[in-house]
């Protein structure tokens, strides 16, 4: 049973700086697989510089990996012929962050909807295609009469983003990669858009990879979560457990730093020490970690599987077995997650 989409030991480095001499590692030795038969909503959470956007672009085939492979149904994504690429695009679709940039100002918004219908031959006739588009718009809560025939600048950001969801949905893909789909949308609309994404997953069995920096929405919409810190995985597992009882010190810091809407003013008072040190070896978080031990600065911890449905890359848990390379997906799809009670923090 081959995975639908897989990253195998992928590293992505970007050249930068004045003469292209600075090299920035965006993602390091990352292995991850998306299962084809059990659709899930997985959140990938990280801050800027964590590598989450690079992950999205690698999965979508928009950038090639520096080392390692990106495999679609077992075949190298970047070696596919035109038919293979077409198949890939049919199965894997995306929603991006900026609802303004993704529309060609020259065309009406119909263009982004009619193009896939045409290119992937989704309908036998023009009217059938039109019906398909209307159905997709309804599925995301939009009225075709208010949307079709308009230019992008005549619609709000929320409407535009919902049209993008409809577009992704038209192809009935197996996987939708949503890269910060609601961060440029008003708060009151976020829940609506995320709700429709969740609905797509439940009703149509589409897997969703929800990439964001907003842990609260990730918690509400996803089943499992991957926490990225500086190009590696810090923690992974069932979202309920990871959020309520985080194990990795970075995850704990992240969750503790989120301001909550509550009358309890508990925004933790301890200041965060240290700034990032990009040249140090060992665990990436060691320079800011309150629990750092000497070994943390010399060796990089692997992911320790602390429970069937979670893992943390921290030497504090080195009693647990280490996950073999490329097997992080096992903690993301364990069905036991749903029944297990959440342990105390």
């Amino acid at each position: 049973m081959t995975a639908l989409l897989e990253l195998r030991d992928v590293t992505k480095t970007f050249a930068g700086g004045v003469l292209g001499r600075e090299r920035k590692v965006a993602l390091e030795r990352f292995s991850f697989a998306i299962d084809s038969d059990r659709p899930r909503v997985t959140a990938v959470v990280g801050e800027s510089g964590s590598g989450k956007t690079t992950l999205a672009r690698l999965l979508l085939g928009l950038v090639p990996p520096s080392t390692g492979e990106v495999l679609f149904k077992g075949c190298d994504l970047h070696g596919l012929n035109a038919a293979g690429r077409q198949d890939f695009r049919h199965h894997v679709q995306a929603i991006f962050q900026d609802p303004y940039e993704v529309y060609n100002p020259f065309y009406r918004v119909d263009h982004v909807l009619t193009t896939p219908v045409r290119k992937f031959r989704l309908a036998a006739s023009k009217s059938a295609g039109h019906a398909l588009i209307e159905q997709a718009l309804h599925a995301v809560g939009l009225q075709p009469g208010e949307i079709l025939g308009r230019y992008p600048h005549q619609l709000s950001g929320g409407q535009r983003q919902r049209i993008m969801v409809a577009r992704a949905l038209l192809l009935r893909p197996r996987l939708i990669v949503a890269d910060e789909p609601v961060s440029m949308v008003d708060a009151s609309l976020r829940a609506t858009i995320l709700g429709s994404l969740r609905k797509l997953h439940e009703e149509l069995g589409i897997s969703i990879l929800y990439i964001t920096h907003d842990l609260a929405t990730a918690y509400q919409v996803a089943d499992s979560i991957l926490v990225l810190y500086r190009a590696t995985v810090a923690e992974a597992g069932d979202v309920e457990h990871v959020v309520q009882a985080p194990q990795h010190p970075y995850t704990q810091l992240l969750i503790g730093s989120i301001p909550r809407v509550s009358t309890l003013r508990d925004w933790a008072a301890e200041p965060v020490q240290g700034e990032r040190d990009s040249t140090a070896t060992g665990c990436r978080f060691a320079d800011r970690c309150p629990a750092a031990m000497p070994r943390c600065r010399t060796a990089s911890p692997p992911l320790f599987q602390t429970a069937p449905n979670r893992a943390a890359a921290c030497f504090l848990y080195d009693g647990a077995p280490a996950l073999p390379e490329g097997k992080v997906a096992t903690v993301l799809s364990a069905e036991t997650a749903r029944q297990a009670p959440v342990p105390a923090a």
Partner: protein
């Protein structure tokens, strides 16, 4: 629409100047006998009068007929050369910018090298080495051979800025191929810029053509504007005080260039909304 033209003064001036020329050429074509643009059609060196409103030159050409016949010829050269220049330039620019890699390096290097060579020098060498006298069409081809260099560079820069836009990525996800993306996504957004470049290119081509003709390297038998100026210079018309001989072509050339210039500025304003003055 009309309100916009009123606000975009440059466009209005450009269109007006070129419009006057167009009317001049069209009305003239129907009313003036262009045979009189040939030598020995009229008494020589007549100052402007009712019979000969623009006067005549030393070889007995009726200068009004010369203007009516010559203006379209000069514009034609510019038109053909400009279109070839921008046409070839666009294809090369889109290919280089969208695909990058080897194609980009090769095209860019050729254009850069070509741009460092003084254009007029190349044109002179080409014109001189062609056996016999040039026809107007050959002149157009000669000018076109260099006209694509600058458009290639500038259009390439524009395409580079568009290549990373979100809607190009969506187009890729929608299954569009490279050439299709260039044609359907990038090109429409560049139409205003391409129009401005075309007009500038035409203007440059006319200048090159007039320059070549003035040096005597143009189509000697044609009454083009540049050739007229050549005869002016050959016959020392300025020193001899035959002012009407050089005034007419100069005014027409001025109108052509000013018209094209203002048109370019006006189109530039459309292409670059940030240049637009607020309502």
């Amino acid at each position: 629409m009309l309100g916009y033209i009123r606000r975009n003064a440059s466009l209005l001036i450009g269109v007006t100047l070129l419009g006057i020329l167009a009317i001049f050429m069209i009305v003239g074509a129907f009313t003036i006998d262009t045979d009189n643009a040939q030598p020995l059609s009229a008494p020589a060196l007549q100052p402007p009068s009712w019979d000969y409103p623009f006067g005549t030159d030393r070889q007995g050409r009726d200068l009004l007929a010369v203007m009516v016949a010559g203006t379209p010829l000069t514009l034609w050269v510019g038109f053909v050369a400009g279109i070839i220049g921008v046409g070839v330039g666009s294809v090369l620019a889109f290919t280089a910018a969208y695909y990058g890699g080897i194609a980009d390096t090769v095209i860019r290097s050729i254009a850069d090298i070509g741009l460092t060579i003084p254009g007029l020098l190349v044109l002179i060498i080409i014109a001189v080495s062609l056996k016999g006298s040039l026809t107007v069409n050959q002149m157009a081809i000669v000018v076109a051979s260099l006209a694509w260099l600058n458009p290639t560079r500038t259009i390439r820069s524009q395409v580079l800025t568009l290549r990373e836009r979100g809607y190009v990525e969506i187009a890729r996800l929608n299954g569009m191929s490279g050439p299709e993306i260039i044609l359907r996504e990038l090109m429409p957004n560049l139409l205003p810029y391409l129009s401005a470049t075309l007009v500038a290119s035409i203007s440059g081509a006319i200048l090159a053509a007039v320059g070549l003709e003035f040096l005597g390297l143009g189509p000697v038998d044609s009454p083009t504007l540049g050739m007229t100026l050549y005869w002016v210079q050959f016959n020392a018309a300025i020193i001899n005080g035959w002012w009407w001989w050089w005034t007419a072509p100069l005014v027409v050339i001025l109108m052509v260039f000013l018209g094209l210039f203002f048109l370019t500025v006006g189109l530039d304003e459309i292409a670059n909304p940030r240049l637009r003055r607020s309502a």
